[in-house]
């Protein structure tokens, strides 16, 4: 069937020698031709937790709830929810929803999905707080957590109910269909059935994926009018932009900062930017450098770095200067904290700590992971030179960088972090908590910064169900980390998307960077 379709398309293309004929055939249907920098590694949305996987999830599945543009919850497959007691939440599910396979969507599918998520190596850490999930009846599920857990709805944005009947049984090789295989073939990595707005009709990994709108999609109120989607991964920045400017595709993401002006100047295309939530930081390793144990030295480093200069000049305004981990909109975001660039103050602090003449350190940063990562590291090294700190900088491709990072191979290391739960506590858990290999706390804390008081406050916040109280606690954590100069925050990377003028992407993009393509409108 797929083959016949491609053949037909090619025959049409071949006969349409005059290019003028092609748009005529295309206008009958709304086709979104989009280019991302990468495509998902698998059709199994539980195999790897990555941006590409979540983008796929939102096209072919629906979550129980999802984030709106201002980080509020919007009901999707769950229509309502109530907290029964401190550790139990009951959710009512939408009726009349069917999967692409034709199977009806019920509470059993939610139970199946959550249980599978708890088996997935990439998701199990996030879903650990959920103790059990039970189907009360066809349209009601109950979640229980071991401790009071304030972020259950955040987790629900990751629950994209799978078609439990479709993924049950065994495939032709005798392997269970719901098996999650990281390296190797599995039924779920090649077959897909969700409730989402689009069905996958053809997939060539790394080349293109074709989607078609699901005829029986439940959300008939959605304004979305895209009939077909062709997703092409284009890794090369210049080519991705060229493909948009030449009209070969009509939606691209991400837009490289160097091409922002080019896209703004072109009247056929539009640019949408948003302040992002991924924080870029440097950590100062106290186990490697004795001086970093002195808070005055860390503060001196924090005073020596000009975040606004980096955001302005290096990032060309495509970043929001940061003085803390939590971006605006997160519970822990503390409005009082602002970048504290002051070289004189930095020098004073260094003198106070007895390091007037400075010292030398090593620094490592990736060179193809974050926007302008290597240049940022060079700028930071130059800024540190002003307080007499000599930096021996080494930048590496990301494939090699993370190995070095795990070995804590340099005195200062760069890391960017996006909270999977869209919640401040996730930052502290991975970046600032006292490292403990057994619990996995502080897994990316390459500064080996350890302050048990702050950790205790975070732990307390994590069981606080009163969200206002919790926000206060988290903001206190940010303040404490700031005062202690636990690390050096640089900026939150901005996000950018671009599309043809008639593709109205602005209402469907969000800071998580998974555009809701199902609701996308292409104007005639």
């Amino acid at each position: 069937m797929i083959f016949r379709k491609t053949l037909l398309a090619t025959v049409i293309g071949a006969t349409a020698v005059g290019a003028a004929l092609l748009p005529a055939t295309a206008s009958a249907e709304n086709t979104l031709r989009m280019a991302y920098d990468a495509d998902p590694v698998s059709l199994d949305i539980h195999e790897q937790l990555s941006g590409a996987t979540l983008q796929l999830s939102h096209m072919t599945f629906d979550p129980l709830v999802r984030w709106t543009q201002d980080l509020e919850f919007e009901p999707r497959l769950a229509t309502s929810w109530e907290q029964v007691d401190d550790t139990t939440m009951r959710m009512t599910l939408r009726e009349g929803v069917t999967f692409h396979s034709g199977n009806p969507f019920t509470a059993d599918d939610v139970v199946f999905t959550v249980e599978r998520l708890k088996e997935s190596s990439d998701f199990k850490a996030i879903f650990a707080p959920i103790d059990s999930v039970t189907a009360i009846d066809d349209t009601t599920v109950e979640f229980t957590t071991s401790k009071p857990y304030p972020l259950l709805l955040n987790l629900a944005t990751y629950i994209f109910p799978l078609d439990s009947q479709f993924y049950s049984g065994t495939d032709e090789d005798g392997d269970p269909k719901d098996e999650i295989v990281k390296n190797g073939n599995s039924y779920a990595s090649r077959h897909i059935s969700g409730t989402g707005p689009f069905e996958v009709t053809n997939r060539q990994q790394g080349v293109r994926t074709d989607f078609e709108r699901y005829d029986d999609y439940w959300d008939t109120d959605s304004p979305g009018n895209v009939d077909k989607v062709v997703l092409t991964p284009i890794g090369e920045n210049a080519t991705r932009v060229a493909a948009l400017l030449s009209g070969d595709v009509n939606f691209i993401a991400p837009v490289p900062p160097n091409d922002l002006d080019r896209i703004r100047d072109d009247e056929d295309v539009q640019l949408v930017t948003m302040s992002g939530t991924r924080i870029i930081t440097f950590q100062m390793d106290q186990n490697r450098v004795e001086a970093f144990k002195d808070p005055r030295v860390r503060q001196a480093f924090a005073y020596a770095i000009n975040q606004e200069g980096i955001a302005d000049r290096l990032m060309k305004g495509f970043a929001t200067p940061a003085a803390q981990l939590s971006p605006a909109g997160y519970a822990g975001h503390n409005d009082e904290l602002s970048p504290r660039y002051d070289v004189e103050k930095a020098k004073e602090l260094m003198a106070e700590a007895g390091y007037e003449d400075g010292f030398s350190i090593t620094m490592m940063a990736p060179n193809n992971r974050y926007v302008n990562d290597a240049k940022i590291a060079q700028a930071v090294a130059a800024m540190l030179a002003r307080i007499n700190v000599t930096v021996d900088l080494k930048t590496l491709p990301k494939a090699q960088y993370w190995g070095e990072f795990d070995d804590r191979a340099a005195d200062m290391m760069m890391i960017g972090w996006h909270a999977d739960t869209e919640d401040s506590a996730n930052f502290y858990q991975y970046l600032t908590e006292c490292p403990d290999p057994d619990t996995g706390a502080g897994q990316y804390n390459a500064g080996n910064y350890c302050n048990p008081e702050i950790d205790a406050l975070v732990a307390e916040a994590n069981v606080e169900v009163d969200l206002e109280k919790r926000a206060e606690m988290l903001q206190a954590v940010e303040k404490a980390l700031y005062d202690d100069a636990a690390f050096i925050p640089l900026h939150w990377q901005d996000l950018a998307w671009a599309s043809a003028q008639n593709v109205d992407i602005e209402p469907v993009v969000n800071v998580m960077n998974f555009p809701y393509i199902g609701d996308l409108v292409i104007e005639e």
């Binding site: 937790l49 790394g206 030449s246 494939a399 090699q400 897994q443």
Partner: protein, 348 residues
């Protein structure tokens, strides 16, 4: 002849063996594949488990032996990113690359022979000088830049307005220098399935338009080289005794140039050409990246970026094999063109 082929077969195995050892030896420097396979929040214990499962903790020679044992049965392992046998991944990407190389070779042959011959016959003509000048520029511009410029000119289009548009001549000049774009900027479009993993772009005009820009930019590296080579060889042949004798005998110039001289000119060109086609397969990495051409080069870069070691090793071995095969073919053709060359080294 058969002895020659057997010897070459042995060569191929040796080359592939050496490549596999080298690529295995450097795999630790290619990065950590586990990092690429899991999300950032996956705890170390899970990673260690996966690492053990993939056998990445074993010492070098254990890993190599396991690989060699399987490779002897034509099993080169599973790609980490594609989740299928590496040979299958490569077979799927090979046709795109071969088509690109074929189109490029066609362009090179079509252009380099007439231009090379012309500039040898009329070395002082202004056209010859122009060709030589352009070829110097062509050889010194990196393929990446050529590709980007081509995309800007012919896919996006440029509006060039240095001349007053309200005058007839100004408008005409502006029009002349501006381009409309319209050529596809990336990818293969909708290639037509032939058989197996082979989808072709050659079957329709629309398919061919996708090939034009990548083929031109890939050709831009090799074309100047061949023009210069043919010109130099031809100049040398034209100085030789037998050409002078043929002239004295009164044979028509056309016959001397295109039958007698050209044949001898082509001998070294074939040798170089064969080797260069092998190189061309390797050069496609850059061109394929810029044009998002879904061939082996793009796949290889992806594999490197994500530390897909089995795929990297298999790719390198197959490229080694391609080199051996093209060299063998060149030697065979050389023997056909010049019967005095003996392949086996024994007296005929």
């Amino acid at each position: 002849m058969i002895a020659f082929l057997i010897k070459r077969l042995f060569h191929a195995f040796l080359v592939m063996f050496v490549i596999s050892v080298i690529s295995f030896a450097i795999q630790d420097n290619l990065g950590d594949p586990i990092q690429q396979m899991v999300g950032q929040s996956v705890p170390e214990s899970e990673r260690a488990e996966l690492r053990e499962e993939l056998g990445l903790n074993d010492p070098f020679f254990v890993q190599y032996l396991r690989f060699a044992k399987n490779a002897a049965q034509f099993d080169f392992g599973y790609s980490y990113i594609f989740n299928e046998p590496t040979t299958q991944v490569i077979m799927r990407h090979l046709p795109a690359t071969l088509e690109l190389v074929a189109a490029t070779t066609f362009l090179i042959v079509l252009l380099s022979v007439p231009i090379g011959v012309y500039s040898a016959i009329k070395p002082r003509a202004w056209l010859s000088r122009a060709f030589m000048g352009v070829s110097i520029v062509g050889i010194s511009i990196p393929v990446f830049l050529t590709a980007i410029v081509l995309i800007q000119l012919f896919a996006i289009g440029v509006d060039f307005t240095p001349f007053p548009a309200d005058t007839a001549w100004g408008a005409w000049l502006n029009d002349l220098l501006s381009t409309d774009g319209g050529m596809p900027a990336y990818g293969r479009g909708n290639p037509v399935h032939v058989f197996g993993t082979w989808d072709t772009n050659f079957s329709s005009l629309e398919g061919l338009t996708y090939l034009v820009l990548p083929a031109i930019s890939l050709a831009s590296i090799m074309l100047p080289l061949f023009i210069r080579l043919i010109r130099a060889e031809m100049l040398e042949v034209l100085q030789s005794e037998y050409v002078k004798f043929a002239r004295a005998k009164g044979i028509s110039l056309r016959r001397i140039y295109f039958v007698h001289a050209l044949k001898n000119t082509m001998l070294p060109v074939i040798t170089v050409g064969g080797v260069q086609i092998g190189t061309l397969v390797a050069y496609t990495i850059l061109t394929e990246t810029v044009f998002q051409w879904p061939g082996m080069g793009l796949m290889f870069l992806d594999a490197i970026e994500r530390s897909d070691i089995p795929l990297i090793v298999t790719y390198l071995m197959i490229v080694g094999l391609i080199f051996v095969i093209t060299n063998t073919l060149v030697d065979l053709i050389y023997g056909l063109v010049n019967p005095t060359v003996k392949l086996t080294g024994k007296p005929a």
